[in-house]
């Protein structure tokens, strides 16, 4: 197979995996409604808490953007990281492994499908949130906001690709680990705070939080969409997000190869009900 043929085959595999994900997630309208409506409940609770303690109205806008970004993190955790655990449980993983395509192509397809699905839901969350809670946005530089958003999603899903390989050999701990990584990241990324990079938050916490791409991306999007910033106010964020993707992608590929080889040696790739 020539390099061109190999590339085309892998892109077709990625497209096929993306199509399954898009079709599977959108065939039931009730699911779509719940996935948009559910975060509004949590966002609503935080917006009312903000009002109870007398925080500004911009804080409400911050929590709506945070709530929309949380949808991406949840998707990365449950539909990227833990996906190969579910595939193993349902007997699909071995089919991916014997298919004449790169595992990374399958992961890329999952990431593209997952990010598109979640983007639709995130738009719904923001629109519904703005409509219900009437919070102000000051978006002066939409192109920069869109650019930062795409970079954030790329970094997040690359992280998901790396986690996918780590989760591949998990048994029941996959469910617990995905659960474990949910709320702490909501906390560290400042999804529901007005801002994580503020003097009242300890520096060590800010530094730890900066290791998560969502923290950086969320802060940049808030600066652009709520506080009227432009690309000059978020250029450091952009560099950091590019660096995250550049570091995480090769790491994902290496860890995937390592875990697959380990799984073969230990005979755990087809093991169910651990």
């Amino acid at each position: 197979m020539t390099t061109r043929e190999e590339l085309v085959t892998n892109l077709r595999a990625a497209y096929a995996r993306m199509w399954v994900r898009l079709k599977g997630s959108n065939r039931e309208v009730t699911g779509l409604i719940v996935e948009i409506g559910l975060p509004i409940l949590t966002i609503g609770a935080y917006v009312i808490l903000y009002r109870t303690i007398g925080l500004s109205i911009q804080a409400g806008a911050a929590v709506i953007i945070g709530g929309a970004m949380v949808a991406f993190w949840t998707n990365v955790l449950w539909n990227m990281s833990a996906q190969w655990f579910w595939e193993r449980e349902s007997g699909n993983l071995e089919m991916y492994l014997v298919a004449p395509v790169s595992r990374m192509a399958v992961l890329l397809g999952m990431a593209m499908g997952g990010s598109l699905n979640t983007a639709m839901r995130a738009v719904g969350i923001v629109l519904l949130g703005v409509f219900i809670f009437q919070v102000p946005f000051q978006l002066h530089d939409p192109f920069s906001a869109a650019f930062v958003f795409v970079l954030t999603i790329a970094a997040l899903y690359t992280l998901g690709m790396m986690f996918a390989s780590l989760f591949m050999l998990y048994g029941r701990e996959a469910y617990h680990t995905a659960n474990l990584l949910q709320e702490p990241v909501y906390f560290l990324s400042g999804a529901y705070f007005p801002a994580i990079y503020t003097p009242i938050v300890p520096f060590a916490l800010q530094a730890t939080a900066s290791l998560i791409p969502m923290t950086i991306g969320l802060d940049a999007i808030r600066r652009l969409a709520i506080y009227g910033g432009d690309i000059t106010t978020v250029w450091l964020h952009i560099l950091a997000l590019i660096a995250c993707t550049a570091i995480l992608f090769p790491l994902a590929k290496r860890s995937l190869n390592y875990m697959e080889s380990l799984g073969k040696k230990e005979g755990r790739l087809t093991l169910r009900w651990q």
Binding site: L38, T42, I53, L55, S56
Partner: protein, 288 residues
Amino acid sequence: MAVADFIKSARESFRVGWKIESNWTDPVLFATYQIVRPLASLLIVAFIVIIGASLGTSASAGFYSQYLAWLIVGNAFYAYVLQVMLGMAILVHVDRTEYEVLKNIYISPGTLHPYVIGRGLVSVLNGTVSVILTLIFSVLIFNGLLHYNIPLNLLQVNVFMLFPAVILGIIGLLAIGYMLCAVTIVSNRMEFVLGDSVSGIFFLLGGVIFPVTGLPTLIQPISRVLPITYFLNAIRESFGLLPTGQYLSDLGFLALTTVVTVALGIGLFRLAEQRARKLGLIDRKSEY
């Protein structure tokens, strides 16, 4: 005899459930997993209040420390809601589709009822571990490490007020969990959103992170028919927190809403069971 059999079946179900939930790792790691999620949730709301206080909003410092104590207790006991709702919403799916044992349980003499109760009690035990650890860590973090002097003394809790509220609250939550099992037994692909949806509704309407008076007036009546609202009120009073002087009425309303929820839960589960049997859903395979 029937009661003894029921208890025996529920006990065995609890034993199996506990093993499934806990024997994938060692006890220390298990306890860590139990504490991280509720503690992170608590830190989110606590930091919102701390940031609010730092931004110099109108309220006094005393208001914020009182409010933090109020939040810590509410959030800690909300772990029961999360554990029971998430655990029981997914139970039917896991046993029917993943392990494919629901049909075996169904045809065994004990029926599904004690099985569901036993598994629900595992979630209650998990919740208890989370509540205790969250309360201890909260006091250590906010009073020991950050010196916020929150008026929360775990040694001065009125256990005679606490235990009746906890027991009634748990019964109410198990009854709601029963309803979730009923819904999942006759539905498909609802299991992953149902638990989150119901716990999300309780998070918003149950007075977990703000008093129900903060809700829009039109929505407040819904809060007043939820057992979780009275459960958290009674719990907070046993810790000496607001609202004080309403313990007996809160406990009374908690008992009343719990009785109604139990009746609804049992009725709905029986209806769902009959429908599932009629439509052949007990051994449905849906993971495709």
